[in-house]
Amino acid sequence: MRFATRTFLSSFVPIAILLAVSFWVVRASVISTVRDGLRTSVRDNQVALTREQQRTEAGNQKLLEGIAENSALKAGLQLLITERSARDEARNTVQDQISEIGDSLHADFIMVSDANALPLAAMVRDAGGFAPVDLRRVHLPHQGFFTADDRLYDVASVPILEAGTQVASLTVGSRFDITRFGTSAVLLRDGSLIAAQTRDLAPAQIEKALAVCPAAADCEVNIQDQRYLSLPLGMNRGAGGDGYTLRTLQNVDAASAPLQAVLRRQFLVAGLVALAAMLAISALSTRAIARPLADLAERLRACATAGEFPEFPERPGDLREIRDLMHGFNQAAKAVRESRENLTQAYVQFVGSLAQALDARDAYTAGHSQRVSEYSCAIAKVMRLPDADIENIRVGALLHDIGKIGISDLVLQKPERLSPEEEQLIRRHPVIGKRILANVQGLESYLNIVELHHENWNGTGYPQGLKETDIPLQARIVKVADAYDAMTSDRPYRRGMPHTKALSILSDAAGIEMDAAVVQAFAALDHGGKLRAAVDATGSLRNLTLAVSTATVKPHEAGEPEPANRPAQTRTESHGLPSGKGTA
């Protein structure tokens, strides 16, 4: 798992969960608070409405009691009870009287009954006026509801008193209209719904829900996951005893439903926004935290790929930990670099020793590698190559003939002319040298010199036959130095030629086998004795660094060969001397 991923997850996930949970809790609490508040308010309204209803009914009752004091009605009733001969007229009289009362009360039903609750006369409002009711069909409670001709009446009775004694009852009713209440109401008889104001609910649902409600008490029921408040409505009706129940049935959640929906939506939006913000913050902070590390990791990976251990510059914006880390890395890298350098150095020395050992195999070639190295460095300096290149040339030139280790002494030191097969063997030494060094880490940069110091400018060299600038400059430099040293050195079969002659041969070969620029640089080295000085300078240096091999080095190796007493050249070396017979 990546550091960034872990940082992100460990910062985002817990906070996201916390955020979601707290949002949910707050949302639930707000919604329930709102709902409870609205419920309370609806309930208060309901209670107030019910109270008002009761007050109205009480007022109506008082009004009825006043009307029951009507002396004309009392006289009429007296007449009805006592009259024997003209009973129809007597009943007409009373029916007429109660019709008048009913008219003035805007009632739909009015009746008088005697002290034993036996109906005496009853009138019902018809189209245009009041019509008498067949008394045999009238059985109505003192208070409550009464059905006649499929019409439901809501009735109230008051006693008609004479001297404090009830002589009759006056019953007044109006058509029951469930909508006349200020609130949603339901009327049930023996538990079955007769009338309801709400159309949203099925009668069965209402009946089932209200079955548990006590007749005269407040009641809260759940229908379809909504809370309903049901209050007894009207002060007299509950005691009707006729199986009728009139109650309010108000959905107390309906009022809060839109608000709840709004709240839910807003909380959802706010929650999502907060989560998104949280996500962005987490991502940004993760990036801020993980980026320096990722950068560092990237740099380290690049180092690992390149196999180098550069010094990382400390940047001002870096975190202290990162800086510490870098510092540590730089220290370690430095140590690694140093140790690697030491290793390389050691190896170079070792290989150098090998080269000198090689040189030492033949007394005549002793010091050759060292001299070539010095000449090459001198040329490189004249050509103003960078110090790193000069260093590379120095070591590379030192090793340039390392491949000769793999070539038999019989061939290498054969004083006679070489056969073509032997020539081929000799010519393999650059490739062998490359193969030896290629396996050693840190010597990669010398491979070109080792492999290509026998390539000719005109493409006639070996092993690859490269031309002109396809041949690395370092190899071209070493070639000139090598050729010069070969010409000026003594050989078992000849003396070394004088400096000037060698130089002229080199000049002749410029642009053909040699790089003209390098030859020119070498020639410039000669003017004013620079070469000499350089050789002297490096010679003394060599004496210090290559102490092991100095014992075997001849005193004249410093450069100016002594031409006089050398044996004549009897064979052609593989140095590509233009004058040689077997130039490759």
């Binding site: 002396s71 004309a72 007229e89 007597a90 019709s99 003035s104 006026g129």
Partner: protein
């Protein structure tokens, strides 16, 4: 109708005739409020409505026709209050549609009034007035009762069973009494010469008195303007 009866009955005593008193009752405003209840059927009563919404006649005409005009006291040389020259024919106050009809009669003292019931329901006619109190009891359709009124005065007649039924009987001390017609015009015929106090009475407006002197010949003119009672308890101001 009643005044006509009175007038025709006076033809027999033309030798004693004096001048006529003619006049007009002016009432500029409605004085009473009435509701009418239309009959919807024999056993059904209709819905009561205020009169104005249905009646297209002049509401003040009703007021004018309910003013009784009579001469107070005993005119000299003529028949006294207790001894009317010619007893009038028996007037009747019928009960129809829960109302008394007519609801105002003006009769000289000594007259007898009958109260026939034409409604299909009982009525119980009574009066508690000082001049004459009576209670005729419950009686159904087709029956009637009679009452004699010996003393002059205002008799308010009611029904025990129907508190909104009301009629007034004005019993005058002499025969010079009448009801104004719907235009407010009235005539007191054959009044002997002399100085009299003429009274105009309206149930709501009250009693208004004016004095007039009648010569041997020539009719006299006497007009009344009945103001509305300004407020409850305010005594109406008589015009003199």
């Amino acid at each position: 109708m009643w005044s006509k009866l009175v007038g025709s009955s006076l033809l027999g005593v033309a030798l004693l005739a004096g001048a006529d008193i003619r006049g007009t009752i002016t009432i500029d405003r409605k004085l009473t409020h009435r509701n009418v209840t239309a009959s919807a059927g024999i056993y059904q009563r209709g819905i009561s409505v205020p009169l104005e919404t249905e009646a297209d006649d002049d509401p003040v005409a009703f007021e004018r026709s309910h003013v009784a005009v009579y001469i107070e006291g005993n005119p000299s040389g003529s028949g006294g209050a207790s001894q009317p020259l010619i007893p009038p024919a028996q007037p009747a106050i019928e009960q129809r549609d829960r109302r008394f009809f007519p609801d105002l009669i003006v009769i000289p003292a000594g007259s007898t009034v009958s109260f026939p019931n034409f409604d299909p329901i009982f009525h119980n006619v009574f009066s508690l007035s000082k001049a004459k109190s009576f209670d005729l009891g419950n009686y159904p359709k087709g029956q009637t009762r009679t009452v004699s009124f010996a003393a002059p005065g205002v008799i308010a007649v009611y029904c025990h069973l129907h508190s909104n039924m009301s009629a007034t009987i004005m019993v005058t001390p002499n025969r010079w009494a009448t009801r104004a017609d719907v235009t407010g015009a009235f005539t007191l015929k054959d009044v002997p010469a002399g100085t009299y106090t003429v009274v105009a009475w309206h149930k709501a407006a009250g009693t208004f008195r004016r004095t007039i002197t009648i010569g041997e010949s020539g009719d006299a003119q006497l007009n009344f303007t009945l103001p509305f009672l300004e407020a409850f308890g305010t005594k109406p101001i008589a015009h003199r």
